[in-house]
Structures are given as structure tokens and as C-alpha cells.
């Protein structure tokens, strides 16, 4: 057929399109009129674009430079509309339930909420309030590990559902995008979920974006020092995913290892999407040419790259290999029993071997809140809630929710004046979280306790398990000046390798049999 001859194309098409548009446009405000609109009288006449009904500028003659007027109606009233930015697709899609449960548990423990369902957190909660102010869950965003989608989801939460506090997101690039969005939307408070890109706080520095977890580099603090001093490494080779998180995580190791006096002899960055790692592993020095290898490869690559090493270079032994949080037998079958003794970098929560009364109470509260959760660690099959909540993803969202609830408590539920009091309280909060205290620096980035673990052979089961060897207290984002607001974000190999004093050097708290020797 020839479209240009097709004169009889549907009148219905256009009419329907128009009707649908109009109908949807009118339906568009339904989302946020439930509790808000009538309370604020249109006192300020300078913000015409705010309130849809009161708005009739001539359409083809846009008014001259009005200030950008994005505020959802009525943010001065004391209702808290919370949005949770989760991740239901993409590489971390399996952790959607985990992270939503993390934020929810904070409201259950701190704000008297009750989960709607006993076996999932995704159906929401009810009855949450702090200092008499109710907290309503307006939506759960569904990210897919990309920045574009994160922005769309968070805009839906804020602009459609009217959220004035958002907890999330999960992964690094999303975090940078949402921090940038926060800059443009000062009326909403954002508390990061577990995303770990350095830029979100160190480069963007949005005044309404708070992060109560470490970044990818912070999680590797202390391991370089231990490898140099305990493991006897003087030289190391690094193999890392060729994108933001890989660079940041590798950068943390490089900064820490070099600060202690070590040398990096080789850095290899296989592109994301590599299937066959053999040619990249070939680029690493041979085991007799270097003291050790540090692995920062995630996803399917974790096992594939280790297997390629096994195939081409030699056995994976505990004294010559270490890695970041991905370096785990749970993620890589290639790590056999020979790997016992290898050191592994930290994450947001601590390995299961450490038990303190606070941790036990936290995990027990999770088991009390739900019967089962279908979290990522149990392959999205129903499992004990404490399994999900004990892992870093859920815990990051939990600390975000907990910080929010505690700060709100401090200010008596005061959300007025663009949430100024709440933000002040968040900035100065000394959060006593189950796995250790957290405070924020001047960029609203967490100063955290992280840990270094070792892979050991569990005699009883014959399996390799993680055992904590040290807690590294007070890790900040700058690594003693290696990173600052002036430096570029970590890239392939731009982290300077030089000896320097790090604030946590010599302060690490040894852990013996799961008991920190404070």
C-alpha cells in the first residue's frame, strides 16, 4: 500500500487520540489530590503553573520568565508522602523485595507501621506515624539499573504521586542521576538506598540528597593495609569491570594498598558484556611475577573470569587472591577450598559470624515483621526475612529509613519550611544502626564502619564461608585526600598510587571468633 494515497485513514484515529489525551490529562491529577490540594490557598499569585485548576495562561503565548515552579501542591502541610525507589528489573532485579523490605522494616521498628502482607513487603504498609504525623507510602518505584529509568520512576513518585521524601535508589548510575534530580527539586528530600557511586555525594553535592551508606571505594577500605601487612603483598594486579562501580571499587583498593606502601603492577579492565574472559586474564602477570591479584568483577563475570584464570594461569589460592564484595563462593563456584585464607572487602552490613545484641535484635525484628520474604539471596523463593535483611542491600535501605524516622522524631514531625528542620537533623544525626554507628560529612555522605573478611573452611560443612577479621572504623569518602571535590571521579586508573596516612590506619578493630575486640 501507499500511505500517501490512503486518503481514507481514520477520522477515528485522531479523535480517539485527542479524547484519550484529554481524558488522561484530566485523570492525571487524580494521584495527588487525596490529601493535599485544598489546604493551601492560592496565596502566592506568582506561581501560576502550580495548581492545575487555577491555571489558564494563553496557550500559544507562554508567560515570560516565571521561576521554575515544580513544587507539588501543599508541601507545607505535615503529611509525609514517602516513595521507595526499588529495582525490579535488570541485574539487581532480584533484590527488589529485599530493599523495599529494608525501608519498610525501619518504619515498622521506628514508626509503628504494620506490613500489609505477612509474606511480602511489596504490598506496602499502614499505620506509620512519627510524632503524630502520619507517613503514607505513595508508591514503590521500579528501576532497571539504568539512569534514564531511575529518573522516570522518581519523577513519577514525586510529580505524579506527590512524594515529598524518597528513599532509594539501589545502584550507582541511578544514584548519580537522582542526586542531579535532587538539585533541581529542592522541595523533596532524598535518602539514598544503597547506591555506591562516589559522584552522587562528592561531585553533585545536592543539599537535599543524603547517603547513610559508604560508596564503592569506602567498602574496600582497610583491605589493602591488611594485605600489605598481614598478607605480605608488596605488588598487586587488579582486574575490574570497566564501568563506574568497578573503577570506584578498584580505586578504593588501590588507594588503600598504595597508602600502606604497596605497588600496583597491572590493571586490566574487561568491558561489561564480556563472555569469554580468557584473553583478558592472559594480560595479567603470571603468579610468579606478582604477589597477588585483586578481583572486582561482578555479575556472570565473577565466576567466568575466575574460571578463566583457573584455566590459564593456575590455581586460585587464598594467599594470592583477594577481591571486593563479589569475591564470594556464593557467587563463584570456581572458588574451591584452596581459596581459604583469601581476604574480601566489605559491604554495608557485616558477615553473619558477628553477633551483637543490636544485630540480634535487628534480625529478630525482621523475622517478627514477616513470616517469609522472597529475597534475592534465597533465589526469590520464600525464605527467612532475617536472611534478606542481614545482607547489605536491604540493610542500606533500612539505615536510610531509620535515619529518616529518627530525624523526624527529633524535629517532632516538623516538615515545614521546605523540610529545613528535618534536613538539619539528618545532617547532624548520629545514627546508632545495628551494624555500627553512622554519621555524615559536610557533603551529606556517610562516615561508616566497614569490615574486612576472610574466606575460611567451615570444618563442619566442608564449605567456604566468610569470617570477619577486622572492623575498620570511621571510613570517610576522601581516603585521606586521595579523593576530593577537586578530583575527577575514579576512572580506569586515575587513582593516584602513593603512600599516605589514612585516618583508619592502625585503628582497625580485630575480630576474633565473631567478637570485635574494641
Amino acid at each position: 500500500m501507499k500511505p500517501n494515497k490512503n486518503r481514507r485513514l481514520p477520522s477515528l484515529l485522531g479523535v480517539l487520540f485527542a479524547i484519550v489525551l484529554i481524558a488522561a490529562a484530566c485523570g492525571g491529577d487524580d494521584g495527588d489530590d487525596g490529601d493535599a490540594s485544598p489546604t493551601t490557598a492560592p496565596a502566592e499569585s506568582t506561581a501560576p503553573a502550580d495548581d492545575p485548576p487555577a491555571d489558564d495562561p494563553p496557550a500559544d503565548d507562554p508567560p515570560a520568565d516565571d521561576p521554575p515552579a515544580d513544587d507539588p501542591p501543599a508541601d507545607d502541610d505535615n503529611t509525609i508522602r514517602l516513595g521507595i525507589m526499588g529495582e525490579c528489573e535488570g541485574a539487581f532485579g532480584g533484590f527488589h523485595e529485599d530493599v523495599v523490605a529494608g525501608a519498610t522494616l525501619a518504619l515498622i521498628n521506628g514508626a509503628g507501621a504494620t506490613s500489609t502482607s505477612a509474606d511480602t513487603a511489596l504490598d506496602g504498609f499502614s499505620g506509620a506515624s512519627v510524632a503524630g504525623v502520619p507517613i503514607e507510602l505513595v508508591g514503590i518505584g521500579c528501576g532497571d539499573d539504568t539512569a534514564d529509568r531511575a529518573i522516570q520512576e522518581v519523577r513519577t513518585l514525586v510529580e505524579q504521586d506527590g512524594a515529598n521524601v524518597v528513599i532509594g535508589p539501589l545502584s550507582g548510575d541511578e544514584g548519580i542521576a537522582i542526586a542531579n534530580y535532587a538539585l533541581d527539586n529542592p522541595e523533596v528530600t532524598f535518602i539514598n538506598g544503597i547506591s555506591g557511586a562516589q559522584d552522587s555525594t562528592l561531585a553533585v553535592r545536592a543539599p537535599n540528597f543524603f547517603r547513610f551508606n559508604g560508596d564503592g571505594a569506602q567498602w574496600n577500605a582497610g583491605i589493602g593495609d591488611i594485605l600489605y601487612n598481614e598478607g605480605g603483598w608488596r605488588t598487586a594486579a587488579v582486574i575490574a569491570d570497566d564501568y563506574g562501580f568497578g573503577w570506584t571499587s578498584a580505586g578504593g583498593f588501590v588507594a588503600d594498598f598504595c597508602a600502606a606502601g604497596g605497588q600496583i603492577v597491572s590493571q586490566v579492565f574487561p568491558p561489561l558484556g564480556t563472555t569469554d574472559y580468557s584473553s583478558f586474564v592472559q594480560q595479567l602477570p603470571n603468579p610468579d611475577e606478582v604477589d597477588g591479584y585483586f578481583w572486582v568483577i561482578g555479575g556472570t563475570g565473577t565466576n567466568a573470569s575466575l574460571e578463566a584464570f583457573l584455566n590459564a594461569k593456575g590455581d586460585l589460592t587464598g594467599d594470592q587472591h583477594a577481591g571486593n564484595l563479589f569475591f564470594s563462593p556464593a557467587l563463584a563456584d570456581a572458588l574451591g577450598t584452596d581459596i581459604a585464607g583469601a581476604y574480601v572487602g566489605g559491604f554495608a552490613s557485616l558477615p553473619g559470624d558477628i553477633t551483637t545484641p543490636e544485630i540480634e535484635a535487628y534480625l529478630a525484628s525482621a523475622d517478627a515483621a514477616w513470616d517469609t520474604l522472597s529475597g534475592g539471596l534465597t533465589g526469590n523463593e520464600p525464605g527467612p526475612p532475617s536472611t534478606a535483611l542481614g545482607f547489605g542491600f536491604a540493610y542500606g535501605y533500612y539505615t536510610a529509613g531509620l535515619a529518616f524516622v529518627q530525624a523526624l522524631e527529633q524535629v517532632g514531625g516538623d516538615m515545614s519550611n521546605n523540610q529545613a528542620a528535618l534536613r538539619e537533623a539528618l545532617s547532624n544525626l548520629e545514627l546508632q544502626a545495628p551494624y555500627g554507628p553512622i554519621t555524615l560529612d559536610e557533603n551529606r555522605q556517610a562516615i561508616v564502619d566497614t569490615f574486612v573478611a576472610q574466606l575460611v573452611l567451615d570444618e563442619a560443612s566442608g564449605e567456604i564461608v566468610q569470617q570477619t577479621v577486622a572492623i575498620i572504623p570511621g571510613v570517610d569518602q576522601t581516603f585521606g585526600g586521595t579523593y576530593s571535590t577537586e578530583t575527577d571521579p575514579p576512572e580506569r586508573d586515575n587513582t593516584a598510587c602513593e603512600p599516605r596516612d589514612l585516618p583508619w590506619q592502625g585503628n582497625s578493630i580485630p575480630v576474633i571468633d565473631g567478637v570485635p575486640q574494641r
Partner: protein
Amino acid sequence: MSGEASTDVADIKFGMLHLTPRSLRALRVIPTIMVGLIVAFAVLWILFLADRSWTVKTSAGAAIEEPGEFLVTLLDGLTFAGLLFVVASGFTLIFGLMRTVNMAHGAMFLLAAYVGIQLQQTMVGKSRNIESAEVSMFAWVVPLLVGATVVAVLGVVMQQLFLRWNQGQDLRQAIITIAVSVVLADQMLLQFGGLAKKMVWPGSVVHFFEILGQRYAFSRIFMLGIAIVVGIALWLWLNKTRMGMVIRAGVDDEEMVRALGINVAVVFGITFFVGSFLAGMGGAMGASFAGAAPGTDGQWLLNSLIVVIIGGLGSIKGAVAGSVLFGMVTAFSPAYLPSAYTFYSIIFTLGTLAIVLAVRPNGLFGRAE
């Protein structure tokens, strides 16, 4: 479709520029010469020039200096090509007969991988930290076959329900299979979670041997072996059996086959079964070789597309050639690119494709229609 030779008989006049058919034909030789030069340089570089004291540092040395490194890279390329072939041959088989671009090929790969992994874990009796020594050949082959059969049945169901009656509308079919793959991917995320999983090679193939001082894994050779067996079986099936001849005839002239009273619908169903089965086999092998996770589906759809575009759509011979070329470039480019630029290897790999197509728009063994 246009015969490519007949497309430019007219003169082209652009102001001063005046191209006659003869000079146009002469122009067309330019890309061929360019490609020839590039290939010649690449060969020279790998054989003699790389990583010498007076050239640029690369991670593997020139073949005459470091024959071991060269041989290992060659084997890496060949073995990876084996896996590529198994997956892509299914894709090309379906396309060759039915003109259906099965965009759900990657999703089938992943589903078979998950089914195989699940079954293997059940057979071995543990879900984590399975060591190769615990896996018998039986506990590897059975999950592979079961996984492949499951997706083969699924493929036939898809073909019968959604594709049978709109045969020939190739874009519509491609989009229907996209829709199926979107649904499959989302449901697999729900069922199998987001963590990377792996099938474990049987203990009997996990050992190492030495080639010219370099350590090499037998499991990769095993993978290549399976691919060769699959290739021979396909060849025998298509060339020595009646069914295969019907399929080959159908590729050439479907109407004629129909006119001869052959039930084409059954032939189509069987072809879809085999094509999906190959995707599934590839899935189980790929899950042993590199693991399976959300996203693996898209990656392997892409790998299949690249192989068949290089080799020529619908041609098994082309699938062999495409796999080998793609595998070789994948292996050689990180090894022999200057060390500071190895992370560009993946662009380099895809650039190969552009080069091939500049010379042969229908792929190495594709036919102009």
C-alpha cells in the same frame, strides 16, 4: 528484493562529479582493497610485529617470538567459536527455512540454562558450591538435554500459536518474538532471581594440559568437540536425509515443495524444534562456560545476530564461518591490541562486522535475494 548488481546502471551527476557505471564499479573495489590491506596488516602484526622492543607493547607476543601465547589465543578463539556456532546455527536454521527472525532465541538460551542448572542442582543434591568432582558426565548431559528439550517444545508451541499463520510477514514475526522474549525475561527474573548462576562441568572434563609452556583447560576443548559433533550431525541431517533435503528445498523454493505435496507445516514445526533445541543446548553449554543471569539472554541474541550477519543469514556454512571469525577477533583483539587500549577490543570486534558488510552486504555466505 533487489539484485544488487542491477541497482546502479545509471550515471550519477552531482555538479562536477560525473560517475559512469564503469567508474562506479571501480569505486566498489576500493573497500575490498582497504579490507585486504587491513587484514594483511593484522596478520603481519600478530605474526611478527606485536610486542617487540621496537613496536608497541601488547599482552601477547608476536607468534614467532611467543608461539605458546599465540597458540593459546588461537585455541581460545576456536573454542569460543564452537559455542557461538551451536547457538547461532539454531538461529540461522530457522531463518533459512522460514524467514523468521527469532528474537526470542536469547530468551530460550537463558531458559534452557536455568532449567539445566536447576536440574543439575537437584541431581547433585546441593544448590551451592558444587565442585566438578561431584558432577558425573550423566549429571551434566541429562540437564543439558532436558533444558534443550524444554525450550524446543516451547519454541514449537510459540511457532504453532503465534507464527504459523502469519508466515512471510517477517517484521511482524520478529516483533511477536520480541514480545515473547520480554515476557519470558521478566518471568525468568521472577522465577530464578537476579544472581548469576552456573552449571558445573563434569569432573571428567575438568583437567589441564600444557601447550608450549602454557596451561590450557580441557573443558574448552570438550566444548569445541561438542560443537563439531553438532555441526557434523546438522550436516548429515540436512544433506543425507530426506527431511533435510526437503528443508533445503524449502529454503530455495517453498512453493515448489508445497506443490510436491509435502506437508510444509510439519517441516516448519520440526525445524523450529531443532533450532530451539540448539539454542537450548547452547544455553546449557554457555551456562557451564560463562554462567547465566538476567541480561545473558540479550547478550546471546546479539552474539547469534552477529554471527549470522557475518556469515550470511540462513546458511549453516555461514554460521561456521561467522562463528570462527567472530571468535577469533574476540580472542585476538584483547591479546594483540596495544596494552593501553585493550578495553576497546569489544568495539574492535563489532567493527569487524562493519568491515565484512562493507564488502559483502549479505554476509560471507549470504545470497543476494
